[in-house]
Each structure stands twice: as C-alpha cells, then as structure tokens.
Amino acid sequence: MKPFNQTFLLLTVTAACWLPACKPNNAATAVSGDAAAKAYVAPGKYDEFYNFVSGGFSGQLSVYGLPSGRLLRVIPVFSVDPEKGYGYSENSKGMLNTSHGFVPWDDLHHTELSQTNGEVDGRWVFANANNTPRVARVDLKTFRTAEIIELPNSAGNHSSPFITENTEYVVAGTRFSVPIGDNQDVPISSYKQNFKGSLSFISVDKGTGNMDIAFQLQTPGVNFDLSHAGKGPSHGWFFFSCYNSEQANTLLEVNASQRDKDFILAVNWKKAEEYLKAGKGVKKNVKYSRSRYDERSHMTKSEMLNEVTVLDPAVLKDICYFIPCPKSPHGCDVDPSGEYIVGSGKLAALVPVFSYTKIQKAIADKAYDGEFEGIPVIKYEAALYGEVQKPGLGPLHTEFDGKGNAYTSFFVSSEIVKWNIKELKVLDRVPTYYSIGHLCVPGGDSRKPNAKYVIAYNKITKDRYLPTGPELAQSAQLFDISGDKMQLILDFPTIGEPHYAQAIAADLVSKNSTKLYKIEENTNTYVTKGEKEAKVVREGNKVHVYATSIRSHFAPDNIEGVKVGDEVYFHVTNLEQDWDIPHGFAVKGANNAELLIMPGETQTLKWVPEKPGVYPFYCTDFCSALHQEMSGYIRVSAPGNNVPLSFSLGKTNDAEAVR
C-alpha cells in the first residue's frame, strides 16, 4: 500500500528516533519528557477511559484502557472464539446464524457507543459486519454480544453502525450495490440498470435495546462509504458519503475515480418516518436473521425474518438530496453543534465543510444542479460553508473537541491535522506512524466530546515494534490534546486491524458492570441448581449431562454408559456466586472448543465421541489450589457393549470389575 510514501516517512522518522540525544525540533515530531508520566497508570490504578476498538478482519471488538493502552478484553462479536466457546457452545452458536447459514467470520469495521441527548451514555456499543451485512449490539453491563441483526438487500455493510442522538436508529448503508429483488441473476455489466444501494434504519428499543429494521431506503447504485447523524438543530437528518457515482463495475480504482465530485447524501429521516406512517412504504419479501442472547436463560434465540418495508426516495421526493463532494469522499462527520458537515475526499487536497443551514436554504430555494437517478443534486456552492485549503493529502476521517476544532486523519501524508472549523484554518499537525486510517477523540462524534486525547489507528506498522515476522500487530498512537499542540505520549499494539473506535469516560461504564449471574435467576432448560440435581439422562442417542462446577470439582465426575454414536451434551452450571470465579470445561477429543462458565451461568458443550475408551475432562480456568484436581472421566463403550448409564461423585470403594 502506497510504498513510496511509507519509505519516505520511515526514513525521516527513524532518523529522528535513532538520535536519542538530539533535541527534538518541536513537540510534534518527537516524544517529549513528560510523555511517560502522562500515559502512566500505576499498578492497581484504573484507566480514565474505555476505548472500544474495532478488530477489523479479526471480526472482534477489543477494549483498551486509556491512557495506559492496556488491553482489557477482546469481545467476540462476528467471529468464533474457541477460548470463550463463542460460536461453539450450544448457547452461543445461534448468534452467528444468517440467511446464508452459520457464518464463523466477519470483518468488523466500526464501533459506535449509544447516546442519549447526543452524549455517550455507556449502555451499548454497536458494531458492523462488513462482509455478510449485519449489525451487532454489545451490552456494556456484561461486555458481551447481546444481539445481531442481518441486513437484507445489502452487500458490504460499511457505512454503519452510526446512530442518531438518542439512539433512535442505527444505520447501515451498502458499500456494494447489488441487484435487488426477485431476479438477481443478471449480467455484472448491467450495473446501471439493475444494481441498487440501500440504507437501513434499524430502530433500537429504549429499554431493552432490541433492534428491528424500521425501514429501508432504496437508492441509486453507488458505493456508500461512511455516515453520521445530524445533531442538535440537524437532528432528524443523516449524512452518508458515497463514491462510484460513475457506477463502474470493474477496475474501480480507476473507473470510480473519474468524476471530480461524488456525493454526500443528506437524508431527512423524520420525513421518511412520516411517509412510513402514511403507508407509503412497500413491503418486500426478503430473508434475514436476528439473534438475541438472553442473560437469564443463557441461550440464544435465533429467528429468520422475512419482510422489510422499503421507501423509494426517487418517488417520495423530499427525503433524500445529493450534495456534490470532491474526489471520492470517505469520512462524513458532523461537528458537535450539528451545523457543520465535514466531507473527506480520499484523493482530495482540500477538506470541504458543508453548512446545515445552507443546505436547508438550498432545498427551500431549489438551488439544484439537476437530479441523479431521480434525486435532486444541491449546487455545491449552495451547500458549502467553506474549504480548508492545503490541509494535507488524503483526508479520511474527522473527530471534534467541542471547542470549535476538528482533527482530521490524512492517510497519504500520514498525519493528524488540527484545524478550526469556523476559520477553516490549520492550527497544528503531527505525524503518525504510519499511514493513519481512523482516529478517535472520546465522545468525538457526539454533542459533548471529552477531548483529552486523540488516538490514531494506523494502517502500517513496519519498524514501529520489534519485528514478528511478516505479520505485525497494528499500531495505535495516543496524543494528548489538552493543550494547543498535540503531543504523542504512547504507542500500543492492537488486535486485527482497527478501523473506527470510540472512547468513553470509564465511570459511565464501570459502575454498571455485571459481576456474576444470580443462580436463582438462571432459567436455562438444563440448569443444575445444586449437586443434588446433578444427573445424566439418556434420550435416544442423546445423553444429557447435568453437571455442576464449584471449587474444585465437577458433579458428577464419573460417567459410564455412553456409547459410540451418542451425542453427549455437557450442561455445566457454575455454582459459584463470587466475582471472577469462572470455571472452564474441556473434554478430550472435542472437535469444537472449550467452555468458560461464569458464576451462576449454564453453558453447554456438544461432544460426539468416535471410539470406545475413557476420556478425561477438566477445568481449564485456574480456580483454586486444587484446580489440578478438578477433573473427571467419562467412559465410552462400543454400541454393542451393555454398560448401564451411571454417574457418580466421590464413590470410591465399589468400582466395577475390570473388563
């Protein structure tokens, strides 16, 4: 990726770093003396912020503490995680159901914290699956994926999961337009006739967080890229960047970069709601999945849905407006006041800032430059507040500090540039190592940023850390922005490839953190509430083991009478009721995963033994001084062998004669 530029940067940067005694030219190009103190969080002390970082091609979401850069947790979302049994246990595997069947991997690009009144509220964090289009909701009480909804009529769910200021909606826009409708078997070259984009508005229940697709807007075939909601005065509008208004279907690198300007699509979603209420939507027959994890039954409820309501903005004229935006826009960011919309053309050498007030006036005055596939195109100058001239090369994304300043990432020139929104004037710039993609200011896309830091999520790592072969961790960099100048204070490696990330003051989340599940509230079908209830039950060729775990034994721990050909289900209930006392469960030859069972929880592992023998099982999570003793045996017999089903714990002196 862009090798010439990397090499150049590498040389200048490494030259600067290899001279430890030399005086830095300025605070922006080298680490100054107090950087370590600013990023230092003493042992036993807590970080000030949680940072929810997309895992990119890992499909997961990682949680870091800031300013230390400590990795606190990796939350499995769209990819299986054998460590936690996610996607393998009977309880969780339904979370990865889709209309394409079980999908074990995806590409998680963006995270978005829920908001109330335009401020991050610490309830949920949303994430998008780019490949098989889905949106997930992660519950910040448990740091677990609570719900995943699939998006029909969609491909490449990139401009997602951005939200409105009271989390009324999470949006999802298609990166890849595709044929939609009954006949999808069409020539690829018929893009212009047959391919369509769609923008989904997913409603979020205020109390439960449950997601539903409220409606979809069917749009011309273009590539939607990123989006952000209006806020304050512009609440009720959503802005989506798009490229490939050329409608190319091959060699997009060249063919989708022909026009001087592509678009930002302004969507009046309150108007769309009115049309929806007035019955102007068309119900379309589709197929998509929705899975919810229940924290009491400790099970996934997965269902297939088959209807979505579609609104056509080419017919319902006053929902959508295109605004020309230079050079294949990527980021589409709305400032805390809700007045300014910053577009970032990936190939542009300037940053246009649009004015919400001017957009409204342009619509009222019909200051249009014709239409694009039935949707009015507002005149560029009629929507433009102004342009930041010569800010850097390849602007991608912008976050805000709430003090009138914007921070824009520049991939090609590998830097963060701080600029004043009203004056459109560059104030400061710092290099990043190397080739920054997204960036994050805590609350930086909300009405109330908490602007102590900006974090750069870089695409290229090269020599930044000790080499680990051809494959390297991605680098993130933390800058203190409390002063006028940005100051680099920390590098930290990240999992997968981080794209967008969000951060939130720790106390908004930590105070609500679940410590354990109450065993009294466990409604799992296979729960074992106390060792007295532990048992093994045969139903045809299915053997259900109702087991308990507590420091440090399983009940039962000797099981006989299982036959080759049986499906064994270990339903393990952790009877502990203390924080941070999970037990694990692994059985020899299991061709899926282990289980980690939190206090008060029931988790189920399916095991299909293939040959006779005695198989040990054990606890995988160090639980006490006698953890090594926390184990058991299960005997598997040939189908014809008449061993009766039996189970026990602590039975020592009447062992069956050796056969």
Partner: protein
C-alpha cells in the same frame, strides 16, 4: 493464576497478620483503620462483619430452617456434608456448637475479611486449602442457613 496468588497471599497472611496485612483485591477496598497491628477491638468469638448480636430462640424456627435447606442444596452442599466428614470444607455436624451464630453468619457473608483477620478461619484454610467461596447470600438467606445448621445439630 491470579487466584493462586490470592490463596498464597492469604496463606502468607497467616504468619504476617499481626503486621499490617495489606489487601490485594481492589484499590477501593482499603480500610486501613481496621488492620492496625494487634487489633485490640477484634472479637474472635463474633468475627468481623455486620452481625454483632444474633437473636436465637431456644426452639427451632421450622420455616426458616426449610428455607435454609433450599439455599444449602444450591450453594453449600457441593462442599459441606451434614455429617462430621470433611469434603472440600468441614462437615456441618456440631458447627453451631463450635462457633457463635455471629461468627458463622459473618464468615458466610464476609468471607474475605474473615480469612484475613480471624485465626480460626485461617486455621481452617490451612486444613482445607480452598478459600470458602463467597456465595453471595443475603443476610436473610444466611440466617436461614444458620437455622438449618441448628436443625442439623438436633435443635427441635
């Protein structure tokens, strides 16, 4: 591994407890006033915790004991037999004769602090080597369990 460290540090605390035994768990939990050396205010008969004076009648409260049995089945029976046989923890036979009700209720509901400062609790940990889990019993549940212990010890 961290649990191992906790156990070891608790064991070490047995010998160091007359000094300023430090708390390892959470930064918020430090209560230095209670860990002064010698700890003259500590009542080893009653233990540390919120139970100072538990009213116990001469006869058994049967509904309470029944409720206590239900808690026992789910949260206690994995480790405690009703006889005098040790399983993971000591058997319950005569437990109400060995300890005052306050001590038992405090140990059930405040196990970490008790293991840190109570000599009898520490001696049991040396025998069992598994820290008694805090099973998150409410005060009422703990009291019911105590009534069930009394029933097990023959109170009618």
């Amino acid at each position: 591994m961290k649990k191992m460290i906790l156990i070891l540090s608790a064991a070490v605390g047995l010998y160091a407890c007359s000094g300023n035994a430090s708390k390892q768990e959470t930064p918020a939990a430090s209560t230095p006033a209670k860990t002064e050396s010698g700890n003259p205010a500590y009542d080893p008969e009653r233990g540390a915790g919120k139970f100072k004076d538990v009213a116990v009648s001469a006869t058994l409260d049967k509904p309470m004991a029944e409720a206590g049995l239900k808690v026992y089945d789910v949260k206690c029976a994995s480790c405690h037999k009703l006889s005098d046989e040790k399983l993971v923890g000591p058997g319950w036979k005569d437990v109400t004769r060995r300890h005052k009700p306050e001590w038992i209720l405090n140990f059930i509901t405040n196990v970490d602090e008790m293991l840190e400062k109570d000599a009898k609790a520490q001696a049991m940990l040396e025998l069992c080597l598994v820290r008694m889990p805090n099973q998150n019993l409410s005060d009422e549940e703990a009291r019911n369990v105590y009534e069930y212990m009394r029933q097990n010890d023959g109170v009618k």
